[in-house]
Amino acid sequence: MRAQFVKTVSKLIQSDERVVLLLGDIGVFGFRKMFAQYPERTYNIGILEQSTIGLAAGLSLSNLIPVVHTIAPFIVERALEQIKVDLGYQELGANLVSVGASYDYAALGCTHHCPADVPTLNEIPGIEIVVPGHPDEFDKLFNQNYDNGNTTYFRLSEAKNTHSYNVEFNKNIVIQEKGGVVIIAVGTTLEAVLDASLNLDVTIIYCTTVKPFDFDSISKFLSKKILIIEPYYSGSILTNILRQSGNINGNFSTIGVPNDFINKYGSKADIDKMIGLDSDSIKKKIIEKINE
């Protein structure tokens, strides 16, 4: 997805003179052509995430469109107050694009993990959260959304689904509709969900916009058993469903990253397996849900 991020944003720097890129000293080589051709709107701003968000807010106040890019924990958790006050409270347009997701940098340890990014930002009023599952989806969602006047968080991952879908901002896609269990799969979890659901009668809904959540897409399924599968600390989708519906009764379960520090290394696949986000573990959960 990072390669696509470079392509998508490079095109926009060329076509939209309002776009200003601020890199936190990562991805610099990828944007070398933009640094050469558009130095006035392409910055390797440095490793100072809090001031970078404040600076981005200043650009936005001056009617430019900032795109801030660095690793998830540094942009979200370190600069959280700036995101809340400078962008959220002031209702400014900005694009925050992270890499690393929950534990793409598995071997680097917990400092570089960020399973709290989505639940944390979910609590900031007005901020939009986009979790693409494929590079093409990032391209579509970013182009649809980058200049909509709101702050949008785009969560990129090193992982990707095999197939991309014709995604739209704030629209879920019903991939298949059968049986009494409805699975809502977020972003890159779709690959494991599709594997796990082979030959099972389940409805699968694919979600790439966590906030605002497309409540209409699930309203007709609310009497069924709903299993939500998220690639971060679980609960954001359920929170948004409950907030948007006015606290309905329903049969909901959530699977996501457990609320623990992951003190193991290896690869993302190793950790997926360890915490139950691989397709075999997900299949067991689906069958349990069917048999409930």
């Binding site: 809090q50 404040g54 650009l59 002031q90």
Partner: protein, 256 residues
């Protein structure tokens, strides 16, 4: 000067009516704000949407009473709006909200935020080739924040000679974390630094008007917290306190 005295009276009256506000901090920066609006910014309700307007950001947002009172004196808001300070329906809170108050460029309050925002706005002017000036007022306590020093690095790295940071150096923060050699420190971060009496209008205007090329300018304004009201001057008890009826009467008398 009678206008300035009236603004001071308005500040303490608004604080008395609302029983809220950081009056001493407001009086610390009032001369600076007064001169900026009177002689430098050239701002009015008519040019607030102009791309090339000058920008002022009050990074030490808790000094909002001074900003609100100067905005009232310059007809951005009404006297009744000022005297409604911090009521439930007021447009004016303890920290001003840009969505509610005409003339406020950024909603500040958390320290160390406005300086980075001002850098973004100064950089935006460079990108858009707009010849305006961006002013930001920070407090000395705010200079404890890491983002202040991050911002010092950023502004000089990007040669923002359209940016002027005025540091309200009333030394109220010395009891916590001293900023010894502030002049040298800021200079070492690549800024042009001037040091003035922050209550001398002549020194304020002359330091703002001095020409600097390729560097941001910092003006260290030596000020007195609570300036102009004896009871309040450098008295920490008045950091976040509003005058009672009797205190208000005494202060109004002193200002008259």
């Amino acid at each position: 000067m009678s206008q300035l005295k009236n603004i001071k009276k308005n500040i303490i009256q608004a604080s008395h009516f609302g029983q809220e506000g950081h009056v001493a901090s407001a009086l610390s920066i009032l001369d600076i704000l007064f001169v900026l609006y009177d002689k430098v910014l050239n701002l009015s309700l008519n040019n607030l949407d102009s791309d090339d307007r000058n920008i002022l950001i009050l990074s030490k947002g808790h000094a909002s009473l001074a900003h609100a009172a100067v905005l009232e004196a310059n007809k951005f808001i009404t006297r009744s709006e000022l005297m409604d300070y911090c009521s439930h329906e007021s447009i004016l809170g303890g920290h001003l909200n840009k969505k509610k108050v005409p003339g406020v460029e950024a909603s500040t309050g958390s320290l160390g935020h406005g300086i980075a925002i001002s850098i973004g706005m100064a950089l935006a002017s460079k990108i858009k080739k707009i010849k305006n000036s961006v002013f930001v007022i920070v407090g000395d306590g705010e200079c404890n924040e890491g983002t202040f020093w991050e911002s010092m690095l950023l502004a000089s790295n990007h040669n923002l000679d359209n940016l002027c940071c005025i540091i309200d150096y009333n030394r109220s923060n010395d009891r916590a974390l001293k900023l010894d050699s502030l002049h040298e420190k800021v200079k070492a971060f690549g800024w042009h630094v001037e040091e003035i009496d922050g209550h001398s209008h002549k020194e304020i205007i002359s330091s703002i008007n001095s020409k600097v090329v390729d560097k941001p300018k910092a003006i260290i304004a030596n000020t007195i917290k609570g300036y102009g009201i004896r009871e309040m001057e450098n008295n920490p008890a008045w950091h976040h306190r509003s005058p009672s009826k009797e205190e208000l009467e005494q202060m109004i008398k002193e200002l008259s």
